[in-house]
Symmetry: D2
Subunit: 306 residues, 4 copies
């Protein structure tokens, strides 16, 4: 298994069948970095246009339509001492008759203590700057090239992944994406040092990131919506609108995952999920919203060999 | 502060301006019990028609329109050794083209170990009966009489509370409800020994409950949607459809709560919530869905005196 | 068949099991009147609190749970020379980031020429007052007592009817409502001289009305959502949120109506509706929205005898 | 103004910045044809993969970002004597608990009398084949290349147009689309001889089409969502989910159009639309739904010169 150190030169604001930036083997590890959502690098220099610019795409040898691409986030961490956020909740996350009470949106800056892993709002005198927030680094946007020649904006998400802004996409997680083209073409970007549920101000604490990840090909594993797992849980991610539809996608995909990988009938998965499922909210900011259905592995029977 | 032991004789399947079952003082404690969602008591006898029958209503002396009724759940616990659940997820929580793959809905029974606080599915040989689930007792439905002479079905929820099925409504929580009529008229019922997020099979583990609660009147506190708090967090609850609307109600109410009780401008609450808010899913089963927005108190400035 | 002239004295802002205002026979005709949405009568005097006050309820002899109540609107017409509207679209019918561009809401008055059937905005110099609008009188809110002791606010709608604000509920239409209690208990109010689709400013041209209607009992006809017909079309009305759910209710009910009354399989009704269905928008203003699915009778086979 | 007769050889199932198939002048007319939704031509031969294949794109000289592209549908008509439809309503347009009552989906064929303009279901003995349906030819899918290098599937729709399936897009209509790239790159396909509102079976009567259209550049006209007009009405089209969002997009765009082109304040447009707006339903079948807001020109003041 090779290790690739990759210096990105070009960034994409769509996820699609772009020219591969690097070809890697199944199981290789890639060490690289991402600009922040506005296209600024670790030095704070804007080196590419804004809009969740993606590093990649990475062509994974052997990945073919019908497979899943498993990607483990080995390490993801901010690489700059200043991040930024929007300062007002989006008008669509509050009641319509409350919108006129909101202040104007502006950017806020946050001091990031990379050693101690703490973020602090740089607005003196604000009650919001009193508490330091512990880092919980996550990747907001990643995905594989979608089917049919589509090039999907990194402002949104769909079956291929995309801009899901889920704080559970943190170090140690493995995600499973539906391969639609040869080589899968994995894209990654949009790191957040911290982010609340829903990304309701439209940003996490946005900052350039160092990332290290390992893609693996799972042959003939049909995933319809992104799946993920960490040590404790398995998850399925639904993207769409309204959130009700995200719930439907995520629940269905989780039940399929429990059938395919754990041999559970839909009656059995209903019994388990009915009393044990947890839903997490990705973003309610983008054109497509995101909801995650998950269940702890301790409630499941032994996994079938892959 | 008096303690009232109350034996219910009549139950209601709407929340409305029914004849008070008991009048209690501001700060008194009520010790009583609730039948399960099908109207069965601790002996398993069906003593009232099904549909989340409510114990009460309790008239709280001094409560008047414009006040909030604070109710602390001092103790809530199952009082019967058998509970039941539906066995299949609702057709509206899965993708529409997946509905035909679901099995028929039937009831399942669960053995409840009241001493150790464990629930176990009584279906031999099922992988779902392997793990015992630790109790996390909660109240599915409670509320105060709504305004304007409405009598709202206990199948659904609104500003007055109702059938929210949120597993965070557990022992130790204080809820705040908008008083719309003299005496507030508090109703309570529908206990669950355990319940997953979303109540996606339409039930938690349904069982009759012992309940003990303390209502207090908060004068001139206008709450538009139910609020709640536990030791660690403050919360606002939004009921409606689609879930997007629940998010709007809950977020708006939480921002109002942070302004009224913590003196935070909407810019400051945006800064805090943007990076620290958590959303929990109540039910996605009933006519109105439920979403909870919450934030930890440690991120907030000191609370103003009430 | 008797004709009843009824002078209302009490009005209701919930639809529920209120004391009958009048008992009428199956097929009798009632001649009465309604106040406007703010409770003002033909003289402009406010005689009851605002909120779509209902005349009635009317107890129809012989109506029992499981029946449908058919009500024909024999005559509905404004009885006052001045109406009023809100002057700004609701914040929830425009894009969230457009809300701050809207002006403040105020009331507008309209001159109503009852003889010629024309309405004209009384705001001099406004381009909106240039054109006279031809009357298209309709009833915004009507319904029967819902099941289970509910009393549902006249601000909203559900299976029992309620505040649907559909301009197709005009003179000559027959509506079919699900009888849930003995006598059905029919309520009626909230007349509009004119109204656009969606009731997007929250009002039609609101005015007190003369109404004349004839209720008939259809035995053992189970309707789940309101149905209606005029000379040309049959219709089913879905109430809920989001509009997608209204579409689901209305389409399902129309297919059931086509099966029960025209003997069409769901494959046949799919073939007809797929190419011939029309959807009309009731309100997108109230807590529950309204969508109507309809089809022309000329595309249907002969009706079965009732 | 030139007339171009164009024989398509390549078809696209995304709308994006594809190589122009033909360059035409501002105001030129194009006479060409489209395959049906499954890629079949006038001879019934499948000449390209299915999925609403588009003819084009057409590069319009002078069109630049910030302009609108006005396209008049001069003639659109089926060119084959047989069409097809799906035979069952989509599971998401009926109530979730009704889905299991639907029959299996199959294709139906329809005989098209091109001279008399009549369609008849070719299923003998079906009540649905009794009535001949008059043609009302429309274009289901058309649009211009979206911004930012996106290539959007012809299964869905967005600001750029796309698969809107609105039966009001018939001969004589002029549509206005937001130009995002040089030359606009207009695509067109997916003709329906007839279609009900909502495209609830997922198809109209699908058939290959002859089309004739004239594109014109409107300089510096910013449209955010497609606009359209016919002799009688102006329209704005909202695409999204749920339908509530389509209503928001369409209403906002129509109010902007009334301000920019007719000089109406939002208070005046509210007064007019409140009582005169009509909403039409495009599809409720695709990933993005479509709703059209429209108003008759007779209710508007004189138009400003463009």
């Amino acid at each position: 298994m090779a290790i690739h150190r990759f210096e990105p030169r070009r960034f994409h604001t769509t996820i699609g069948s772009h020219e591969p930036a690097l070809r890697v083997g199944d199981g290789d590890t890639v060490i690289t970095w991402c600009v922040d959502a506005r296209g600024q690098d670790r030095a704070g220099a804007q080196i590419t246009p804004r809009g969740n610019p993606q590093t990649g795409p990475f062509y994974v040898e052997g990945a073919a339509p019908g497979d899943a691409l498993a990607v483990t986030f080995d390490r993801i961490y901010p690489n700059r001492a200043q991040g930024w956020t929007n300062c007002v909740v989006a008008p669509w996350v509050v009641d319509p008759d409350f919108v006129t009470e909101l202040p104007k949106a502006e950017l806020e800056t946050w001091a990031l203590d990379l050693e101690r892993g703490l973020a602090r709002l740089e607005r003196e005198g604000s009650p919001a700057s009193m508490a330091s927030l512990p880092f919980d680094p996550m990747i907001g946007c990643f995905g594989v090239a979608p089917a049919g020649g589509q090039a999907i904006s990194t402002a949104t998400s769909a079956e291929h992944g995309g801009n899901m802004d889920y704080r559970g996409f943190r170090q140690g997680v493995t995600v499973y994406l539906p391969v639609a083209v040869e080589g899968a073409l994995f894209h990654i970007g949009d790191g957040h040092a911290v982010q609340g549920d829903g990304e309701i101000v439209g940003t996490g604490i946005e900052v350039s990131f160092d990332v290290e990840f390992t893609p693996r090909v799972v042959r003939n594993r049909r995933v319809r919506w992104p799946r993920a797992e960490n040590e404790r849980e398995i998850m399925a991610i639904g993207n769409g609108r309204p959130l009700d539809q995200c719930v439907q996608h995520a629940t269905t995909e989780l039940m399929r995952m429990m059938q395919e990988e754990y041999g559970l009938t839909y009656r059995d998965s209903s019994a388990i999920l009915g009393q044990c499922v947890r839903y997490d909210l990705g973003n309610v900011f983008d054109p497509a919203y995101t909801m995650v259905a998950k269940v702890e592995k301790r409630f499941l029977p032994p996994r079938r060999s892959a």
